[in-house]
């Protein structure tokens, strides 16, 4: 049974935070986890990484396989049971734990522990109360607002505030920032025409900003956009970095 904690949302210095790293980051973008480790070290916040973690179960949930998703939710609750604070560098995995674990079963251990999960931007600004995390990242940067982070977790304001506080960073707002990039998990391979068309619209907007770097709270969106631009617009010179990488940068 997951440990319960007294009702409080205030972070106390020295409390341990668990890193919940999306499975695809473990395999494809380990630098996102590494950036978080560096960032939290600089901020003096003890960050643990429960090795037993695997996947939050969102692919199963999105595919309608709720039995399997529920099993992964239960496992998640066990793995993260002892931590009061859980930070995840992903709006969509964060939404899975915070919103969809309770949606599937409001009285489950997954729902209880899911409630302690924060996306990175909300954790830094809302829990730690910091907008300036001492980062420096020179360059013109635009931010892609992942849909789950934006709509399920309300994290946009926090992410943009964090970026604007980064030294030497020139923030360029993405036109039509509220539009989905078209990744959507398996949607990207099941309906590739729609997915690519939506990505193209984002790529147009990115080019309009003249940004050298595109960042986001979700590597899944960046994966899709980077893949698209590398293949279809190889002459456009733009790098893709997760928000954690920018904030870890000095």
């Amino acid at each position: 049974m997951a440990a319960t904690f007294p009702e409080t949302t205030r972070y106390r210095t020295g409390e341990h935070v668990a890193l919940f790293l999306p499975c695809y980051c473990d395999v494809l973008f380990p630098q996102v986890g590494q950036a978080l480790v560096a960032l939290f070290s600089r901020l003096g916040v003890p960050l643990d990484y429960p090795m037993e973690q695997t996947c939050c179960g969102q692919p199963a949930f999105n595919a309608g396989r709720w039995d399997e998703a529920a099993k992964l939710a239960a496992r998640f609750a066990q793995v993260f049971a002892q931590w009061k604070w859980i930070v995840v560098p992903s709006g969509s995995c964060g939404a899975m734990a915070r919103r969809f674990y309770p949606y599937m079963d409001a009285s489950s251990a997954g729902a209880l522990v899911g409630n302690r999960v924060y996306d990175l931007a909300t954790f830094l600004t809302g829990v730690l109360g910091q907008t300036d995390v001492g980062a420096r990242f020179p360059g013109r940067v635009t931010y892609h607002d992942g849909c789950h982070g934006r709509r399920e977790l309300g994290a946009s304001g926090a992410a943009i505030a964090l970026l604007k506080a980064v030294r030497d960073l020139e923030y360029a707002e993405l036109p039509r920032i509220d539009e989905c990039c078209g990744f959507g998990g398996t949607f990207a391979v099941k309906y590739p025409e729609l997915s690519v068309s939506m990505g193209d619209a984002k790529a147009d907007a990115i080019e309009q900003t003249g940004a050298q770097v595109v960042t986001s709270g979700d590597s899944s969106c960046l994966l899709h956009l980077e893949g698209l631009m590398r293949k279809q617009r190889p002459k456009v010179s733009v790098r893709f970095k997760h928000l954690a990488e920018i904030l870890a940068s000095t």
């Binding site: 380990p30 999105n62 309608g64 998990g185 099941k190 698209l228």
Partner: protein, 455 residues
């Protein structure tokens, strides 16, 4: 279980490859208009109120429907209950026969589209004439409406010119004024010929038996008042409790539907005046199933404004015909499988669950959650989940249940990726990615491996 969502439907119609781009820019303007029209009211408070009124209504629908019936009948109208779609058609045909109808004029009614009213009337030898201009145009063209509010949205004025030339025998013109006048003249005759007028219902007030019909063109008013018999056709979910609730909906409907602060006509019908016969056919047709399930209940709050269609990136690209039913867009993807069961199980999967629809919805329906839920129902009912991608997901989910199998999967993935890269081939599911996007490669050292090494 076939993947037959035709993402190219709108481009295929009339061989117009540019159609998605045109639709997108048209709908972007609609959304901007809707946002602009909200600036003078407390939008968030009003949509929360609208949501709450509908929530209360659904919790008390049985009592409110009975209250409505009593009030409506007290003022001289007759209520006919239709538990199924077939019952609704039977009632309609009975009314038409009783009053010797050979021609029926129709105000805009989505439920009539859902029930295929026109086809049934036609089979019975009764001509049903659509009087809403957009509906009239698609009827002449032999098409279905492609958008809840703008049925002919997929047609240009040149298309309409060609349709009118062919079907009405007038000289070709693409001048909107001339086209509208041609339609208006012909429809005038039809109102006068018709024995029965059928209209939809925007809101049915339980307290007083008032029916509110909201429109811009005036055809609803004429369909209701010119013929001697008027039939309202409504789903059970159109009820609102009191007259005092109506202004909340009037404030949000037009703003979301057309970007107007108020539509040109807001008719309040109160029973039947002397010499007039008025019926109200109240249709269930599986709506009570939606009511019974708390996870689908909110889809009954829909006030048919079309805003979710306007903002949906999938609808903008695929157009209304791709959804294969009366209702398109996010609400269609949710209620078509809910109302029709077997069919349309695929629709909820054709979405990234971005949630833009819920953001736009004037009654705050939890559309993205319902899409996720309907996916679950489809898999549970064996109507989805048999395809390669779904089975891949199932395998992955099982592998995630312990760390050892996770690690084995990662090893397998790395080997497969390396092999794929060497031979330049990937299974079709990755091909769907790789044709237009560069494939990511697994990192040489995973995060777990990095963490273990430093500890």
């Amino acid at each position: 279980m076939s993947d037959n969502f035709d993402a190219r439907a709108v481009a295929r119609a009339f061989q117009k490859p540019a159609a998605p781009a045109v639709l997108t820019s048209t709908l972007q303007r609609s959304v901007q208009a809707a946002h602009g029209a909200r600036q003078d009211i407390e939008w968030e408070a009003l949509r929360s109120a609208a949501h709450d009124i509908k929530a209360y209504t659904m919790e008390n629908l049985d009592r409110l429907l009975v209250q409505f019936e009593a009030a409506f009948q007290e003022r001289g109208g007759s209520v006919l209950w239709a538990p199924t779609a077939a019952d609704a058609i039977t009632h309609l045909l009975d009314v038409c026969r009783k009053h010797g109808a050979s021609t029926v004029v129709k105000g805009k009614s989505m439920v009539s589209e859902e029930l295929a009213v026109n086809e049934h009337l036609s089979t019975a030898g009764i001509a049903a004439v659509e009087t809403d201009l957009g509906e009239y145009i698609v009827q002449l063209a032999g098409q279905r409406p492609s958008h809840i509010v703008g049925p002919a949205l997929h047609l240009s004025r040149q298309d309409v010119g060609r349709i009118f030339q062919k079907e009405l025998g007038i000289a070709y013109t693409d001048d909107p004024e001339k086209l509208m006048t041609a339609a208006r003249l012909r429809l005038r005759e039809r109102y006068l010929q018709a024995q029965v007028g059928i209209t939809g219902v925007n809101f049915a007030v339980a307290e007083t038996g008032t029916i509110a019909v909201i429109e811009n063109e005036g055809n609803g008013g004429l369909s209701a008042s010119v013929p001697p018999v008027h039939v309202f056709l409504m789903g059970i979910e159109k009820i609102i409790p009191k007259m005092a609730d109506l202004p909340v909906f009037l404030q949000v409907l037009a703003r979301s539907a057309t970007g107007q602060k108020i539509e040109v006509y807001t008719h309040h019908f109160l029973g039947a005046e002397p010499g007039k016969t008025v019926y109200c056919i109240i249709v269930d047709a599986n709506r009570s199933k939606l009511l019974a399930d708390s996870k689908t209940r909110q889809s009954l709050y829909c006030i048919r404004c079309g805003a979710c269609l306007n903002v949906c990136p999938v609808y903008r690209r695929a157009g209304g015909f791709a959804y294969g039913g009366a209702y398109a867009g996010p609400i269609g993807a949710v209620i078509t499988p809910q109302l029709t069961g077997e069919a349309a199980a695929e629709l909820p999967f054709v979405s990234t669950l971005c949630g833009a629809c819920q953001d736009e919805c004037p009654v705050k329906i939890d559309l993205p959650h319902q899409l996720a839920y309907m996916r679950h129902k489809a898999v549970e009912g064996g109507r989805a989940g048999g395809d390669m991608t779904a089975r891949g997901i199932a395998m992955w989910a099982r592998a995630m249940l312990d760390l050892a199998s996770y690690r084995r999967s990662v090893t397998w993935l790395r080997r497969a990726a390396a092999l794929g890269r060497r031979v330049g081939w990937y299974p079709e599911v990755l091909g769907a990615w790789a044709r237009s996007r560069a494939l990511p490669m697994p990192a040489r050292v995973s995060f777990k491996e990095w963490w273990e090494r430093r500890s």
